[in-house]
Subunit: 167 residues, 3 copies
């Protein structure tokens, strides 16, 4: 039984900026970096994503957000200091930081971050969002915000953002 | 520390019906309204979505469903009265209605719906689905149904449905 | 009150292989079958999906993975024997196998698999992933693996994989 995790290797790394067109259809992807300040940190990415989308003047389409990390999630919710504190506490209650995990046990794991809790919390929130674009802007409800959950920070995190649509 | 939630403002509101074409590629979005009857209500949207998709005669493509609300989720499961009752009870067990939440405390929050539980339950289920379309119809397994979870009703809820594909 | 679950019926079944093109835009879907060995089984699909995507030489696009089952999930995490064991135990702790469920009670349900726990565990993990494709390959972080969670096996499970992009 190996103590190591499988590494994902592409033939070539993802390019920081990549585009393709087919007539009026545009597809454009970029890598964005977001820095976090705490071990668990909830960051509002809405303005960043809205500004990214507005650059392309897409009438109808989609925008995909992908966290490049296993312990950094993306999800939708309301952005209010009080609620963010409830969300943080909820994640801590659902998945204990200090329970006995094989991933944190050097006998079974070569990971030295002791972050099994981060992996399990990410399981609940997911790693990506695929949003609609309409009239050149992201489709979101009045109280919906695009949130990133740093679950094992502080760190600099990479997100890939890809827009797909007809101008 | 603000007691308020950030409001998402587009330059222009999402149009109720919006389309774009690029050759044989069609993208078409519409807003649908679904009314719910209870505080927690599980609604089967499958027929609605299947009928929407059949109107477009898309050979291969995708259809995106987006809940415009933070406390209204979309997910896949089986639709059976007994199981729906288990799902409701599961959500109630995972997230207590009456625990102490900062979002429900007027000292920290200007929200008067006292609905922290709804926000946390939505976190577990998510707010959107991106389904495949093939042969003019949605791709679903025999027992899969497209379900909406009203988590703070009863209310009228808006969903945006967007189809994307080649006819 | 019916004891049965609603069955989803398309006019015609999903074809095993289906394609459509619009200029440089390709959309191609296929059904893949993955066999599992245990009641709860975590399977690494990354190589399968990477090989599928490389066949199409898509510069920029998306690939959608859809589990055709209610009790078989798809998600992203690290693939390490120790962590997989933690994930399995976490699912078992979050949703008890033997609690009292209406779905497992012949008085209320005609399902003879007694698998309410599988349905609830699938609720937490979700049934689909929409990944980005760039430079002809799937976009994934170094430690991210595409995982399938068999939640009521062993069985042969069908997944539909659909690629969408510009070559």
């Amino acid at each position: 039984m190996s103590k190591s995790s499988t590494v994902t290797v592409r033939e070539r790394p993802v390019e920081d900026v990549a585009s393709a067109n087919a007539g009026a259809l545009t597809i454009h992807g970029e890598t964005l970096v977001v820095s976090t300040d705490q071990r668990i940190d909830l960051v509002d990415l809405t303005t960043l994503v809205m500004e990214f989308v507005r650059r392309f003047n897409i009438r109808e389409g989609m925008v995909s957000l992908w966290s490049m990390h296993t312990t950094c999630s993306l999800f939708i919710n309301e952005f209010q200091t009080a609620l963010l504190s409830d969300i943080r506490r909820f994640l801590e209650q659902m998945v204990a930081r200090d329970a006995e995990y094989m991933h944190n046990d050097p006998q079974h794991s070569d990971c030295d971050r002791m972050n099994a809790d981060s992996h399990l919390r990410a399981l609940l929130l997911g790693h990506n969002l695929t949003l609609q674009v309409s009239g050149g802007e992201v489709v979101l409800g009045q109280w919906q915000r695009i949130l990133m959950a740093e679950l094992d920070g502080p760190r600099a995190r990479s997100l890939r953002v890809q827009i797909f649509g007809v101008s």
